[in-house]
Symmetry: C2
């Protein structure tokens, strides 16, 4: 147990438990607080605020023991006890962000509870990942047994002795415990009372040395805003990885090594059941809000070479700026090493990377770890090809109005045919002989992952045809057949 | 099967099997060759050489069916047949490089054969990893059942009907099959006959567009040399990852998009049983040969947070230039994701990264993937601390002549005590109270991983003491006790 005595022994730092800071006297440089022995005060020469964040609330949120948050030790303990004792059987999680998705797995896989997850936005992981990626995560969570409700806000929560009933859209969900996980907001009480400047993101404004508007008061962690490397705007990204680095940065500066904290790319990751999701930079929605002119590439590949027994598919999405080809956002998802690819993107985006930079990465290659060309580089190649005229469309686009050419092998199409009124099926190997069978219309070429269809589209274009291809391929849509038909109605 | 017909159908490329190129007529731009139907020739406007490499030989290598290489299909098939049928029971591998280590695992774990591995250099993976890292891989391979012989060259190989006998140093190894895996050398016959320039590394010299000394002849893959990003010198690095990218680069240039191929960092990876090894940049030996003034940091951490059940230790070594703090080489090893860390280093070293750049990486953090501060950043922090006076020594250094202070907890030291004539054992938490018990001598502080010992060393230095710490900690040495005592005599 790393208590105050431990910390004092090991580091010499004096920890004051139960000392609740109430007011900062900026002029006199004194911190006032409350303890069990009455009011106390501490003089300071420099003060570091690390007041963190608290859970956001929703309008419908009642004050009731069945309606909880997942934030501190006091929140967790009764949940764990209830789950262990079997008094919690069905948990309804409100909020499908990083914490909501992690909780869904924990409650379901670790504790065997029935789990319903409600997300007001159109897809899970809003603000982290685009709907195309959220859709993949949702499919996996549904297959893993989670009841998912997206695109509808919670209207009422009726909590009583017997359980809770949640009204969301046309659904009524009955459960025994509700966990609200709709994100956090910075704890600003002390900062506001001290008159410190709050930034446009709603968190404490700091300069690049993590100094607040008061020269000897510093702040770090979930209570401060950062500068976003892609948009150049202040942003609130409460992540443990940033908080840790900010703490060290302030310590170095206070010890005389003025250490600036760099702008952030917003790299983050989450494990939802067997799937890993990682993202960096901006989502399409954030780019639209910033008025940045971008295009997107969706790519499906393998995380290891195809012949490697443990290889799994990886789906990658890249947003890039039209013209400069600057990389604006990268998202990766699959039952494989997605953080390696997003880390790479993050480090290069920090340095203003273009698609060419992503395509030129030199990775440590051996078959147990990656293909000879890493899928991130392949995705960048596909995006570069797109800027040279080989255009793709979103893997979840409505394809009903297009003439689709499916170039997969016959046995790949079995039970996985494309549900589309205008469809041709010609295997890639026969295209050069049979392309004249195709109607004289713009064509959408599809295959399993988007690789063969891109090649066929390129060749057809060289023959004077108008052709695009389905980025990420039918596998992104679930392979085809009835699943993909359902998808058409969703997007 | 991707035969010539498949490739023609799918891509329109005309493949000529059984067409052995014998001579390039540079003036007339004609390629001469032999086929089963006699001599043939092909005119060309541009010619791409992708002649690859062939296995190197050793002086003692006899021509005998029991003495094989592992290179082409013809080499592999009889080995696999012998292993499956049980006629191969004990394989002796000569060469402990990437291929030798992979083969040791395959023969032992996949086919159940007894395996002996001989490496002439002092440790396995020479040229890839430093002895400190090779030592860790060796320990793991020995524990996995491989008989290892390092630091002695093969003197004779006597192969006969009944088996083969290898004399190496004082050992005689009897086995039924010998596999020579001592690296490859470029196939230069065609290039030499065409008068193309051969570079100082011994491979075909190409410019940054992969063009040979003849303007319409290009070359890529295991027959060319590269420019090393760290040393600025030509280097021969035959890796599939580079070959793939070079092929695309030439294709783009030949299609009118002059695409330069960048200098290389030499990122590589290998799996040896359950341990993963990755490396980028230069080894200590290569840096010494180049006359580059460097220092080293050895770091042991966890690949995920300590509380995560699947977390494993990761060992990281960083070489950096004294003064500029430019990163010169990074090696990582462990039963965990080492390629993620080396990929990061590679991408940043490509851009001239310093220790500060490595320390500032923003990674996609969640507990299943990494700690909040990635171990690569922590290793860079330790190296920066070292440049500020907190010096470490190699985890495999001979510590017998030093006064050692072990700050581990008593139960960590049990059966793992440091074998050293001058030893003090004081837990870290007691140092502030008991430091005056220590003799007035330069101290080497040790702990399990090098983290606590670095903190104690820093504090003792602040008290006016002379102190260094064991980089990477006792865990790098196998924890302590008799194992580490044996180690002392090796280094």
């Amino acid at each position: 147990m790393r208590d105050a005595a431990y910390v004092a022994d090991y580091t010499g730092v004096d920890i004051r438990h139960g000392w609740k800071a109430t007011k900062i006297d900026v002029e006199q440089q004194i911190l006032h607080g409350e303890t069990s022995e009455g009011p106390q005060s501490l003089p300071w020469s420099d003060l570091v605020l690390a007041t963190g964040a608290r859970p956001k609330k929703i309008p419908a949120q009642p004050k009731h023991p069945r309606v909880r948050v997942f934030h501190g030790w006091d929140d967790v303990k009764p949940l764990k006890t209830g789950l262990m004792q079997g008094s919690i059987d069905h948990v309804c999680i409100i909020g499908g962000g990083l914490v909501g998705c992690e909780l869904a797995e924990a409650f379901h896989s670790l504790w065997g509870a029935e789990v319903s997850l409600i997300e007001a936005e159109a897809s899970v992981l809003p603000g982290v990942a685009d709907p195309e990626v959220g859709f993949l995560v949702e499919r996996h969570m549904r297959e893993s047994g989670v009841a998912l409700y997206t695109g509808a806000a919670v209207e009422t929560i009726d909590a009583g002795d017997e359980g809770a009933v949640i009204r969301v859209g046309e659904n009524q969900i009955e459960c025994d415990t509700v966990v609200i996980a709709v994100g956090v907001e910075p704890n600003l009480d002390l900062a506001r009372r001290a008159g410190l400047e709050i930034g446009s993101s709603g968190a404490i404004k700091v300069d690049r040395f993590m100094r607040t508007s008061s020269p000897h008061i510093w702040a770090a962690g979930d209570c401060v805003e950062s500068l976003h490397r892609i948009t150049g705007q202040p942003v609130y990204i409460p992540l443990g990885s940033l908080a840790n680095r900010q703490g060290r940065s302030i310590a170095n500066t206070l010890n005389g090594q003025n250490e600036a904290f760099p702008a952030v790319t917003g790299a983050m990751a989450v494990k939802a059941f067997d799937w890993n999701v990682a993202a960096v930079g901006c989502t399409a929605e954030q780019l639209k809000m910033e008025g940045i002119n971008f295009r997107t590439m969706w790519f499906t590949g393998e995380a290891m070479p195809g012949y490697w027994p443990e290889s799994k598919e990886i789906h990658i999405l890249i947003h890039y700026e039209i013209g400069t080809q600057r990389v604006l956002g990268v998202q990766a998802v699959g039952e494989c090493d997605v953080t390696k690819r997003v880390d790479t993107a993050s480090h290069l985006m920090m340095r203003g990377a273009t698609l060419k930079d992503l395509s030129e990465i030199e990775h440590a290659y051996a078959p147990p770890f990656s293909p000879a060309i890493d899928p991130l580089a392949s995705a960048a190649f596909a995006a570069i090809n797109q800027e040279q005229g080989l255009q793709s469309i979103s893997p979840v686009a409505d394809i009903e109005k297009l003439h689709v050419l499916d170039v997969r092998l016959a046995d790949e199409r079995e039970n996985k045919s494309v549900k589309c009124p205008n469809l041709s099926e010609i295997e890639m190997g026969e295209i050069r002989r049979r392309h004249e069978e195709l109607p004289d219309r713009p064509l959408l070429i599809v295959c399993a992952r988007g690789t063969r269809s891109a090649e066929v589209a390129r060749w057809l274009i060289s023959q004077g045809r108008e052709a695009t291809y389905l980025g990420g391929g039918m596998n992104w849509r679930g392979g085809g057949g009835e699943d993909a038909a359902i998808l058409n109605s969703q997007f």
